[in-house]
């Protein structure tokens, strides 16, 4: 019998990409995606269920589908355009319900993979240059993204403690760059204006979007339990990110930079969420030895991720937005998946 996987946040970037990646695996018997909205990427055989983070439906789905693996990609780590309450609902309540469903009596779940973020470490002057997984953060929690990630990981830790027979993996990803993903940094780089704090040029790490998916997949396939930092090798100065990305630096005053940038944010000229302020001031580095020792190989270094993004950005600037958006059509997808008229040679 093949594996049966549940992916959360199928309508988000990571859920969609993860489903695509898992569809390419041979021993995948069933892939089920949860999402509040329709998927954004074309999927071959992933089943889509529209649902929010309600507990009752989650435990029913888990019971009914007998999934053995849950890949929880739906954690919001970017507070731009998300009200505090929604962020809390998605991250904390969503995870709470998901874990409750996974850990209920007689549950078929054997593995849970969580996509977390290095925002959990914060960024302060007292930080070590490289955080290891067991290091605790050095600065008080000031932003809601950080707070909610801390709460989520606390829930996961309890869950792993209560369910020692399960494989629980938490991947903490550095700031992501890539061809397709939109984050505050890519937003700013695309608009050629990258905020920095005057007089500071910190060293930052990035992870390429493909490496994110590959890391999630690697941990899922190899059933590796534990907490892992995931970031490209090396670090590069913030100013270099701007120069590789072809953007101008927008220096903000060192005192209360966010108040200064607020009008520009309102106008949509730059994005500068609170959780990025510490990173842009002091930078952040995480030690990725643990995942490398587990055999994962990165395709991109931090600088490589920036360059890969810059190349994609050049293409986009030259050709416009390019590919037409994919649209999920419920009836069509259902037809291809379930109609007897479709010849499914692959599955027999």
């Amino acid at each position: 019998m093949g594996r049966r996987v549940l992916i959360t946040g199928l309508d988000t970037f990571w859920g969609g990409r993860m489903a695509q990646a898992l569809e390419a695996e041979d021993d995948m018997e069933m892939i089920l995606g949860l999402g509040a909205n329709e998927p954004l990427v074309p999927l071959e055989r992933t089943e889509f269920v529209r649902s929010d983070q309600k507990y009752s439906i989650l435990s029913r789905i888990v019971r009914a589908t007998q999934v053995d693996t849950i890949v929880h990609t739906f954690l919001e780590t970017n507070s731009v355009n998300i009200p505090a309450r929604v962020l809390h609902e998605i991250n904390v309540i969503g995870t709470l319900n998901l874990l409750a469903a996974a850990g209920s009596a007689g549950s078929s779940v054997r593995q849970v993979v969580i996509k977390s973020s290095t925002h959990i470490y914060g960024a302060a002057e007292t930080d070590p240059a490289w955080f290891r997984e067991e290091d605790s953060r050095q600065s008080p929690v000031r932003t809601r993204v950080e707070r909610s990630i801390i709460e989520v990981e606390a829930l996961v830790k309890d869950f792993a403690y209560d369910n020692p027979h399960l494989v629980v993996s938490v991947l903490r990803f550095a700031n992501v760059l890539g061809t397709d993903i939109i984050t505050p940094i890519t937003y700013d780089l695309r608009r050629r204006l990258l905020p920095c704090i005057a007089g500071f040029d910190p060293l930052v790490q990035f992870i390429e979007e493909d490496d994110v998916v590959r890391a999630l997949e690697y941990v899922t396939n190899h059933r590796i339990p534990g907490i892992f930092n995931v970031a490209g090798a090396g670090k590069l100065p913030w100013s270099e990110v701007a120069s590789i990305g072809g953007a101008f630096l927008l220096p903000l005053p060192p005192i209360r930079p966010r108040a200064f940038v607020a009008p520009l944010r309102r106008l949509g000229i730059v994005q500068f969420p609170p959780e990025m302020e510490g990173v842009v001031r002091y930078g952040r580095g995480v030690d990725t030895t643990r995942l490398v020792e587990c055999g994962f190989d990165y395709r991109y270094t931090s600088a490589g991720a920036v360059e890969s993004f810059a190349r994609a950005n050049n293409l986009r600037r030259a050709t416009g937005t390019g590919e037409p958006m994919y649209r999920y059509e419920q009836d069509v997808e259902q037809f291809f998946r379930h109609s007897p008229a479709v010849v499914r040679s692959l599955e027999s």
């Binding site: 240059a129 500071f200 040029d201 190989d297 991109y300 270094t301």
Partner: protein, 332 residues
């Protein structure tokens, strides 16, 4: 002055890139990164050829095939923020100060290892310490080895200064940072175990070594399996002596201390940027190695404290010895 290396390779950026310790001259190879990154780099470089790397990327784009082996560095800024170009520029500017203002003189420079990691420790003095740049400059010029100066986090919080400090070889004094520098990368790290207790002391306390923290530097050296090389500095105390401190100003400005220096009394605000032209003499003491197994989680507290205290006593003796020999603050 003692010349160990006729051609200090620290002067050109290209040379210093390879001048990183324990690295063969393979500057052009893709993994120009620091030794500490080797584990990662090896993997990244090998990823394209390795048959084990399963390509399960979404089929939307086919570009992973043309991936080149990837270096972790694009410019000469290393993972600590140190830029060899900046460093050599600063060395060029600072050299006259080193040579003609302080007329720095070394004794026992050959005791600093040319290869492998070592933890350099020194006594610290001067409201804005003049010893750290002198030691870093001296070793880099004479031995051609980069020195990472570890100092208080406080530097990081100052705009411009913090960045310049980082680009010119400053590293925040965190035990993990020290361990990585010493053990993983086998570099020279310079720390001042007294910390700001030494630089904030007034002139009346000159050449009295403060407490050596909690002996953390010994523990790091034990863990990393590297020797501690103590350096006794004479002269820095008189280069910018503190007459008294103003507590409330320090609190208001969020500074570790607010010194009123003799320089400031004579020259006004410019005094905070001008040292007296004292003679700086540096004596490298015998390296101290510890007969313990490296890499342990923790070491006996009493052992650590004893070793730290021994080193402190030796440094204090040597300082007194050097001061006995000294006839003039200005001419040595």
């Amino acid at each position: 002055m003692l010349k160990v290396n006729a051609d200090p390779s620290g002067t050109t950026p290209a040379a210093t890139g390879s001048g990183r310790v324990a690295r063969p001259e393979t500057c052009d190879s893709p993994d120009q990164a620091d030794p500490g990154d080797n584990a990662l780099d090896g993997v990244v470089a090998g990823s394209t050829s390795s048959p084990a790397s399963v390509s399960i990327l979404p089929v939307v784009r086919a570009r992973s095939d043309e991936q080149e082996p990837d270096s972790a560095r694009r410019s000469d800024v290393d993972e600590w923020g140190r830029s060899e170009q900046m460093r050599s520029l600063v060395r060029r500017i600072y050299d006259p100060v080193y040579r003609y203002w302080f007329r720095v003189e070394w004794e026992g420079l050959e005791k600093i290892p040319l290869h492998g990691g070592a933890l350099l420790i020194a006594n610290h003095a001067g409201a804005i310490p003049s010893d750290a740049p002198a030691i870093m400059h001296g070793i880099e010029e004479e031995l051609g080895r980069p020195v990472y100066g570890m100092a208080d986090y406080f530097f990081r919080t100052i705009p411009v200064v913090g960045t310049m400090w980082s680009r010119t070889g400053g590293v925040p004094a965190h035990p993990d940072n020290a361990y990585r520098l010493l053990h993983d990368q086998q570099q020279l790290a310079l720390v001042f175990p007294e910390g700001t207790k030494a630089t904030s002391k007034t002139y009346s306390d000159r050449y009295r070594l403060r407490r050596f923290g909690r002996g953390g530097f010994v523990e790091i050296a034990m863990k990393a399996g590297v020797p501690v090389v103590p350096i006794a500095v004479v002269g820095a105390e008189e280069s910018m002596p503190i007459l008294f401190r103003i507590g409330f100003l320090a609190r208001a400005l969020k500074l570790p201390y607010f010194p009123v220096t003799a320089n400031a009394l004579l020259m006004g605000p410019a005094g905070y940027f001008t040292y007296f032209p004292v003679k700086i003499k540096l004596r490298v003491l015998d390296p101290v190695t510890f007969d313990v197994e490296p890499g342990l989680e923790r070491y006996s507290r009493s052992r650590v404290m004893d070793e730290a205290e021994n080193i402190r006593a030796t440094m204090q003796d040597n300082l007194h010895d050097m001061l006995r020999e000294r006839r003039s603050v200005w001419f040595g």
